[in-house]
């Protein structure tokens, strides 16, 4: 008899055999149920499987934060760094062995607060690292303080009267720094993430994937699933990602259009 449990077991076996789970470590992610990071995990794992990358030729460097835990949930080589230093570390790794595919992963605090000095420089050096910025507009791991992308007025335990600081825009920053590949993505669309990653990995320089995601535990008002689903939409039809000026225009006029914003179109 096919009990629901058996069906599940069978499904999991099928997926495993398909190789789609290969890039996932045996450790189940310790993220809260409903966290947006599961979708990103799926998107990235599928990308690795789809490209057929050898797991031992891939390195995942992650920072500190809920996002920073990623390195433990991937079956590639992993390096769990200190807070904010994934990008220079990834630079060292890539230059040490250019045959490796390198993913750098961190949260909005990790990348835009404590690590903010490194983002412009890896971009201008155009090091072939794929940077996944998990942007939930909150500090998850430390239990809900405002982040550099929190909207003005955010109320948290650390800002009981609301924040005063205006948010940063990581996609705009990437363009400003001259990143050669810039995508804006949504954790609720793992397939979209996989697609963009496959494209971005081809870029022989620095690629950033700015991913909007939801912290279901500490953010009840801003980047909730409901809001994000309402807000995000694809880039305009016919959008040309090779035109940098257009990319600026797009990003300055729309915060929620998702897809490949800029691709300098370099070839190896």
């Amino acid at each position: 008899m096919k009990t629901p449990a058996r069906v599940l077991v069978e499904q999991v076996r099928n997926i495993r055999e398909s190789g789609r789970f290969a890039a996932r470590s045996n450790a189940l992610p310790t993220w809260c149920p409903g966290c947006g990071y599961f979708g990103i995990h799926q998107g990235l794992s599928d990308c690795i499987a789809e490209l057929g990358l050898s797991l031992h030729d891939v390195v995942t460097v992650s920072g500190i934060g809920c996002a920073g835990r990623y390195a433990f949930f991937s079956s590639t080589y992993g390096l769990h760094m200190v807070h904010g230093r994934t990008l220079p570390t990834a630079t060292g790794i890539k230059l040490a062995n250019p045959r490796l595919t390198v993913f750098a992963i961190g949260g909005d605090g990790d990348g835009l607060a404590i690590g903010a000095a490194h983002f412009p420089h890896i971009a201008r050096r155009n090091i072939n690292v794929n940077y996944l910025l998990f942007d939930n507009s909150i500090y998850g791991l430390t239990k809900g303080q405002p982040s550099p992308t929190s909207p003005v007025g955010s109320k948290t335990k650390a800002s009981p009267y609301g924040t005063l600081d205006s948010p940063l825009n990581a996609t705009l920053m990437a363009l400003t720094y001259g990143a050669s590949f810039v995508a804006r993505l949504f954790a609720g669309d793992p397939k979209g993430i996989t697609k963009a990653l496959i494209e971005g990995i081809k870029n022989p320089g620095f690629s950033i994937f700015h991913i909007y995601t939801s912290c279901v535990t500490f953010d009840k008002t801003f980047k909730t699933w409901t809001n994000l689903k309402k807000w995000v939409h694809p880039l305009p039809k016919g959008y040309d990602p090779t035109d940098m000026r257009k990319a600026f225009d797009e990003v300055l006029s729309d915060d929620f259009s998702m897809g490949i914003i800029y691709n300098r179109g370099e070839q190896l």
């Binding site: 904010g84 607060a113 550099p148 650390a158 009267y161």
Partner: protein, 591 residues
């Protein structure tokens, strides 16, 4: 009042209301004029699965250390509570849900692993709560009621604290909770009628009690507020975050401001900027963030700018064990800076000292114009004690900056040599005293100068200041000591409570032992420490670190080698481990 020293633990899964019950016990017993020391542990992971345990030690005399063996365990989840069995006293009372929400199988049962002597009290927590208040959510309060009855604690104490805790949520919530509590209380009273104890018999609510329940972090926040803190700059990090969150709530009310900065480097930079411009400013962090402040702390030393920095230690190195306790940043606090960059380092040993040391640190920083580092740790930050409500006198709050004389106007020397090493410090806005502070070596006027004479003299001046500061720093304090000791135990920080208790126990057994508390880690009152070491046949230094960091610092003060006791378990230092070790040392001495 009968002599009481009672430890109760509550254990459950996140969501069971474990921490709430522990808190109510602490508050109630504090109201009952007992001394209380409580410490909770909860899951390190965010997602909120996992075990919660509260430990409350309640005493009629002053409690200085964590209870090691529980006399009562309130189990809100039997599977989780199994982990507590090794920590139960022999005849421990165990309260458990006799009709738990989910069936407990043998391998998850608590009863099957309890020691033979345990006194078992099965109470249908959930069912009672449902019938009393319409929902099983109050089963933690039912458990509390059951516990109160068996121990003979007046229900009024609990009713009072329940009222206080839930008061802000409205009468309905209060009454629901009271009903759940009462249901458990009445059940125990009748079902266990012939097993009721009266451990806490003659306890009454002592509303006039001058005691308040505070955590170390709350005490730090209160001290900063009372000191007239104007600016807090920080970056979230366990276990220092609650200080920022406390101040975020209360500092704006007195016109101050909390700014969450982009990292720890900018936090200490802004603190230096704030103090330079005349405001009291502070930051709090833990090991990884403290490491990032290294360069700017040396700048404070060189440019002679005050700063108050809390380093709330946790397990290390690197990201380490963010939710565990350790005393392993002493080396870094004292020796961490390149260059001859000595600064003031102090370490409170209990919640009350958290308050008074932080209060004092502002005056120290101002007067000696140098960064002051306060070393706390996860255990001290998060434990609660019902301390005599701390209060700062006007004198303790007063600004202690040494301003320049009016006569030095227009010929002001910011870094004037003086025998104390302290130079008058002008603040921007004061007319006629303009100067430039710098991290380069400089003349008395503050002009960069690398000559041998200037560097030699200025280096000496900066160290002279620290020497001068000794008069304002708390001297090492002897506990239960005498003219000569077989074993002299020296300690610091959150470990010291256990040391005192261990010494106390051994003295009761007639041993010649004593303890010395070191509050000022740097500079050191070397002579006092030396004397204590000299009069001790054996010197023992227990610390929660591997390298023996205090021992490394003071070991050379006496010619005999120091005995070390180092634990890196991430947990508070158990009194019994120290006691055992002293005992061993005594045995060797006796041979």
């Amino acid at each position: 009042m009968t002599e009481v020293d009672f430890t109760v633990e509550v254990c459950g899964m996140a969501g069971d209301g474990t921490i709430a019950v522990g808190g109510l016990i602490n508050e109630a017993m504090s109201l009952g004029a007992f001394s209380v020391l409580g410490f909770d542990s909860y899951p390190a992971e965010i997602r909120g699965f996992g075990r919660c345990v509260t430990n409350s030690r309640i005493g009629s005399s002053e409690i200085v250390a964590l209870g090691e063996q529980a006399h009562a365990l309130i189990s809100l989840n039997d599977e989780q509570s199994r982990s507590r069995v090794p920590f139960l006293a022999e005849d421990c009372m165990v309260f458990f849900d006799s009709a738990p929400p989910t069936k407990v199988t043998e391998d998850k049962s608590l009863l099957s692993v309890l020691p033979p002597g345990a006194q078992i009290f099965g109470i249908p927590f959930g069912n009672l709560a449902v019938s009393a208040a319409g929902s099983a959510r109050g089963r933690n309060l039912t458990a509390l009621g059951g516990f109160a009855a068996v121990c003979g604690i007046s229900p009024d104490l609990f009713r009072e604290v329940i009222g206080k805790k839930f008061g802000s949520k409205g009468d309905h919530i209060v009454s629901v909770n009271l009903k759940s509590f009462d249901a458990g209380y009445e059940y125990s009273k009748s079902v266990f009628a012939n097993r009721l104890g009266n451990i806490f018999s003659d306890v009454e609510s002592n509303a006039a009690s001058p005691r308040v329940m505070l955590s170390g972090n709350q005490a730090i926040g209160m001290a900063a507020i009372d000191a007239g803190l104007k600016l807090y700059f920080g970056y979230p990090i366990t276990p220092a975050t609650p200080i920022m969150e406390y101040l975020a709530k209360y500092l704006p009310k007195q016109g101050g401001r909390v700014v969450q900065m982009e990292d720890e480097i900018s936090s200490i930079a802004a603190v230096l900027g704030g103090f330079y411009a005349g405001a009291r400013a502070m930051t709090a962090t833990s090991g990884p963030g403290f490491a990032l402040m290294t360069e700017l702390i040396t700048h404070g030393v060189m440019a002679e700018i005050p700063a108050v920095i809390i380093d709330a230690q946790r397990g290390g190195p690197s990201t380490g064990l963010p939710t565990k306790t350790e005393q392993s940043d002493l080396h870094a606090a004292v020796f961490g800076g390149p260059g001859d960059s000595a600064r003031i380092v102090i370490a409170p040993t209990n919640v009350s000292e958290c308050y008074y040391f932080v209060l004092k640190s502002f005056q120290l920083a101002e007067k000696y114009q140098t960064p002051v580092i306060i070393l706390t740790d996860f255990f001290l930050d998060n434990r609660v004690e019902n301390v005599v409500a701390p209060k700062a006198s006007e004198e303790q709050k007063a600004c202690s900056n040494v301003f320049p004389e009016e006569s030095s106007k227009d010929n002001y020397q910011r870094y004037h040599y003086s025998s104390s090493g302290i130079s008058p410090r002008a603040i921007p806005g004061m007319e006629g005293f303009n100067f430039t502070a710098t991290g380069l070596e400089h003349t008395e006027k503050g002009i960069p100068d690398y000559s041998p004479e200037t560097h030699s003299r200025m280096t000496e001046k900066r160290h002279q200041k620290l020497f001068s500061a000794l008069v304002d720093l708390k001297e090492p304090e002897e506990f239960l000591s005498g003219d000569s000791l077989d074993v002299g135990v020296i300690g610091w920080g959150s470990t010291f409570g256990s040391i005192v208790e261990a010494v106390q126990r051994l003295r009761k057994s007639g041993f010649s032992v004593g303890a010395l508390k070191i509050s000022s880690i740097f500079p050191l009152h070397s002579e006092i420490i030396r004397k204590f070491m000299a009069k001790s046949t054996v010197v023992l230094i227990p610390e929660l670190n591997y390298e023996g960091q205090l021992a490394n610092l003071i070991g050379h003060l006496d010619s005999k080698p120091v005995e070390r006791l180092n634990l890196v378990t991430g947990t508070p230092m158990p009194t019994s481990v120290i006691q055992e070790r002293i005992y061993q040392l005594m045995e060797v001495l006796a041979q």
